[in-house]
C-alpha cells in the first residue's frame, strides 16, 4: 500500500513590478534593478508565506523551500536563512530545501554546516534537495556554467561526507573543492543524515539518483518525461543489482489549486501560469546562448528563429492535459493525482505549487485547507498500481 504525501512549494514570487517595466526589460531575472522591489511589499510577502507554512504545519502538508536570485520569481534568495526560519516556526511537518544552489556556492562545507544547523533546529525534520541550476543563476552567482554536473556531484559528495563523519577533521582535495580540515558543528540531528533528493529530468542523472537511492523529483515534467525519468531510475537500480525502489523515491511538482468547485479552481489556477508566461523571461545570453546549457549538437534547433518564444497561452486546461497542473474540486484533484500516479508508474510525493503567480494569500490558504482536509485523506493506503509492461 502507498500513501502519497502532499508538499507545499512556494517560491514567494514578487508579481508587483508594472507590466510595462517587465515588457521593456531584457530579463526579469538577474538584471532587473532591485529598485523595483519594494521592501515593504517584500516584508508583507514574507509574513504571508510564513503564515501559510504555519497553516501547513497544523494541517499536515510538508514544506519545500528553494533558492533563486535577483528576480521577480523568487524572494528566497537567502535560502538557508528562510529554511532556518521555517524550521523554527513549524513543529510537525517535514521541510525540504530544494535547495541551496550548490553549483553556485563556493564552499560545500559551509552548505553542510547550514543544513546540519537547520536539521538540529527542526529536530530532524529536514530533507536536503539538490538542483544543478543554470541560466540566470550562473550570472547572478558568477558561477562558471561549464562542467556544473561534475561540480554538483562533487559538492554533494563533500556535503554528504561533512554530514556523516563524526571522528574529527577530514581532508578533501577534489577537482572543484578543497578543504584540509572539515569538521562541522553541530552535527546533523538525523542519523546517518537527512534524506537526499534531487530535482532532475536529465536521464543520466536520474540513473545515478537510482543507484544512490535519492528521491528523484521532476518539476512540471508531464506524463511522458516523468515516466521516462522514473523508468531510468528503476532500470539503473536493476542493472546495479539493487532492490526495487518504493514509490517514496519518486516525487513530482505540479501547479495545483484545490477549490470548492472545478470552476473556482480553474479560475484561480489560471493565475498560476504567470510563472511561465512572465517570470521566466531571460535575456538570450542568460538562456539559449549561455555556455554549457545544452550539448552543442542540439543548438541549431534551439537557436533558429522562433525556437525560444516564451509561452503565452498556458491555459489551465492545457496544463492539466499535459499533467503539469492539478486543479479542481477535491475529488477532481484526487482523480488527477491518481491518474498521474498510474501513468508514471508510481509516485509517492506530490509537490504542489499553489502560491505562485497572481494567486493571493487568502486563495492559497483556502487551497491548502481543502487539500489537507479533502484530498490528502483520499491518497492514503492506495493499492499497488498496475505496472505496465514498459516498466518491467
Amino acid at each position: 500500500m502507498t500513501s502519497i504525501e502532499l508538499w507545499n512549494h512556494c517560491e514567494n514570487p514578487y508579481p508587483f513590478v508594472p507590466a510595462e517595466i517587465l515588457d521593456a526589460a531584457e530579463s526579469v531575472r538577474a538584471s532587473l534593478p532591485n529598485k523595483y522591489c519594494d521592501p515593504e511589499i517584500a516584508a508583507r510577502l514574507y509574513d504571508e508565506v510564513f503564515e501559510e507554512y504555519q497553516l501547513c504545519d497544523d494541517i499536515g502538508l510538508h514544506i519545500v523551500t528553494n533558492e533563486h536570485h535577483s528576480g521577480i520569481n523568487n524572494l528566497w534568495a537567502a535560502s538557508p536563512v528562510i529554511t532556518g526560519i521555517v524550521a523554527r516556526i513549524t513543529k510537525r511537518v517535514r521541510i525540504l530545501s530544494l535547495g541551496t544552489l550548490i553549483t553556485v556556492r563556493p564552499d560545500p562545507v559551509r552548505v553542510a554546516t547550514e543544513y546540519a544547523t537547520i536539521d538540529v533546529l527542526s529536530r530532524g525534520r529536514l530533507d536536503i534537495g539538490f538542483v544543478k541550476s543554470g541560466a540566470t543563476e550562473m550570472v547572478s552567482g558568477d558561477a562558471n556554467p561549464m562542467r556544473i554536473r561534475e561540480r554538483e556531484w562533487e559538492a554533494i559528495d563533500l556535503i554528504e561526507k561533512s554530514l556523516t563523519v563524526h571522528d574529527g577533521p577530514f581532508s578533501w582535495e577534489g577537482k572543484f573543492f578543497t578543504h584540509p580540515h572539515v569538521n562541522i558543528w553541530p552535527r546533523c540531528y538525523q542519523q546517518p543524515r537527512p534524506e537526499f533528493w534531487a530535482a532532475t529530468s536529465d536521464m543520466p542523472t536520474c540513473a545515478e539518483l537510482g543507484r544512490r537511492g535519492f528521491v528523484n523529483t521532476l518539476l512540471f515534467g508531464g506524463y511522458d518525461r516523468t515516466r521516462q525519468a522514473f523508468d531510468t531510475y528503476k532500470q539503473a537500480r536493476r542493472t546495479a543489482g539493487l532492490p526495487p525502489p518504493g514509490e517514496d523515491r519518486f516525487s513530482y511538482m505540479a501547479f495545483c489549486y484545490v477549490g470548492d468547485t472545478d470552476e473556482e479552481a480553474q479560475r484561480i489556477g489560471q493565475k498560476i501560469p504567470w510563472f511561465l508566461t512572465v517570470s521566466i523571461k531571460s535575456a538570450p545570453q542568460m538562456s539559449k546562448f549561455m555556455p554549457g546549457q545544452i550539448p552543442p549538437e542540439l543548438t541549431p534547433a534551439a537557436w533558429r528563429a522562433g525556437a525560444s518564444k516564451r509561452p503565452t497561452n498556458m491555459t489551465v486546461e492545457s496544463l492539466i492535459a499535459q499533467g503539469q497542473m492539478f486543479a479542481g474540486n477535491p475529488d477532481t484533484v484526487v482523480k488527477q493525482i491518481k491518474a498521474f500516479r498510474e501513468q508514471v508508474g508510481g509516485v509517492g510525493r506530490i509537490i504542489m505549487m499553489t502560491r505562485q503567480g497572481l494567486v493571493t494569500h487568502a486563495e492559497a490558504m483556502k487551497s491548502f485547507q481543502r487539500a489537507a482536509k479533502d484530498v490528502l485523506p483520499q491518497l492514503q493506503d492506495l493499492p499497488p498500481i498496475e505496472h505496465r509492461a514498459a516498466a518491467e
Binding site: A143, N144, Q285, F289, P291, P300, W303, R304
Partner: protein
C-alpha cells in the same frame, strides 16, 4: 609527437619562417584574407585550441594553465626558422603568457587586441563581459562596422549573425567554441590577475596592434598593456574593431610584415 591531438591549419611554404597564430574566440578561418596574405612571406601555422574547431577537449583540461602549457608544447614542436607568434584577443592573452614564460623559440611577439590583464579599478570593467552581454551589443562593440564581417567568419557577437543562412554545422562549431571559451575564461572574466606584474619579463620584440574602434577592449587598454611590456611598440588600425585582421586585412598584414621584416 605532442601529447595532445590538435587540429592545425597550415598555409604557405613550409620552408619559410613560421608564424604561429593563436586564435581568439573562434579558430582561424582558412577563408580569411589575412591568412592568405601572411602566407606570402611566412609559413602560417594555426592550431585550434582544445575544445575549439575539431580539436578534442581532454577531460582534465580546465584552466588557462592547461592551455598555456599545451602551447608551450606547441612551441617545442614548431618547425625550424625564425618563429613569430601572433595572438588575437583571447589568444593574445595566451601569447602574452607564453612570452612571459620565456620560451626560447619566440623571436617576435604580436598581440592583436589581447585580453588577459586587469588595468582599471575594481569597479571599472576593462573587458566587456562576453557571456553576460546581449549579442547585439557585443556585435556593435566588436566591429567598426558589423557589415565588414567577412561572410562565414565569426567574431565576438557572432550570435547576432545567426540567420537561416547559417548551417547546422556552423552553429554546432560555434557552440562548442563558446562552451570551451567559457570553461577557460568565465572567472575571472578574460584575465589573469597576476599577469600584469610579470609582463616586464617579456624580452622578445613585441608589437601590440589595436583596432581603433574596438569597444570590447579599448585602445587605451591596449596602450597601457603595451606600456607594461618593455620591448613593445603600439599601433592602431583605423576603421577596425576587435578583429582588425578581419575588418582591415591589408592594413593589418602591412603592420605585421613591417614588424617582421
Amino acid at each position: 609527437m605532442m601529447r595532445h591531438e590538435l587540429e592545425i591549419l597550415r598555409v604557405g611554404d613550409p620552408n619559410a619562417d613560421p608564424l604561429l597564430l593563436i586564435h581568439g574566440i573562434n579558430p582561424i578561418s582558412p577563408k580569411a584574407a589575412f591568412v592568405t596574405q601572411l602566407a606570402r612571406t611566412r609559413y602560417v601555422i594555426a592550431p585550434s585550441h582544445p575544445g575549439f574547431g575539431a580539436s578534442p577537449l581532454p577531460a582534465d583540461f580546465d584552466t588557462m594553465y592547461d592551455l598555456i602549457n599545451l602551447y608551450l608544447d606547441v612551441l617545442d614542436h614548431m618547425p625550424e626558422g625564425d618563429l613569430a607568434v601572433a595572438g588575437f584577443g583571447f589568444g593574445g592573452w595566451i601569447a602574452a603568457e607564453l612570452a612571459v614564460a620565456g620560451h626560447p623559440r619566440i623571436s617576435r611577439l604580436i598581440l592583436v587586441n589581447p585580453v588577459g590583464i586587469k588595468i582599471g579599478g575594481r569597479e571599472d570593467r576593462d573587458i566587456v563581459h562576453m557571456f553576460n552581454t546581449n549579442a547585439i551589443e557585443l556585435n556593435q562593440k566588436a566591429w567598426h562596422d558589423p557589415a565588414n564581417r567577412p561572410p562565414g567568419i565569426y567574431g565576438v557577437g557572432w550570435q547576432a549573425a545567426i540567420s537561416d543562412e547559417m548551417t547546422d554545422a556552423e552553429m554546432i562549431a560555434l557552440a562548442r567554441n563558446w562552451d570551451s571559451l567559457c570553461l577557460f575564461a568565465w572567472r575571472p572574466h578574460m584575465f589573469n590577475p597576476q599577469l600584469k606584474h610579470w609582463l616586464h619579463r617579456i624580452s622578445a620584440p613585441a608589437l601590440v596592434l589595436w583596432g581603433e574602434s574596438d569597444r570590447i577592449v579599448t585602445p587605451d587598454y591596449g596602450r597601457h598593456y603595451a606600456s607594461l611590456i618593455p620591448t613593445a611598440q603600439f599601433a592602431t588600425i583605423p576603421q577596425a574593431g576587435h578583429h582588425p585582421e578581419l575588418e582591415q586585412p591589408a592594413a593589418f598584414v602591412a603592420h605585421v610584415e613591417e614588424f617582421l621584416a
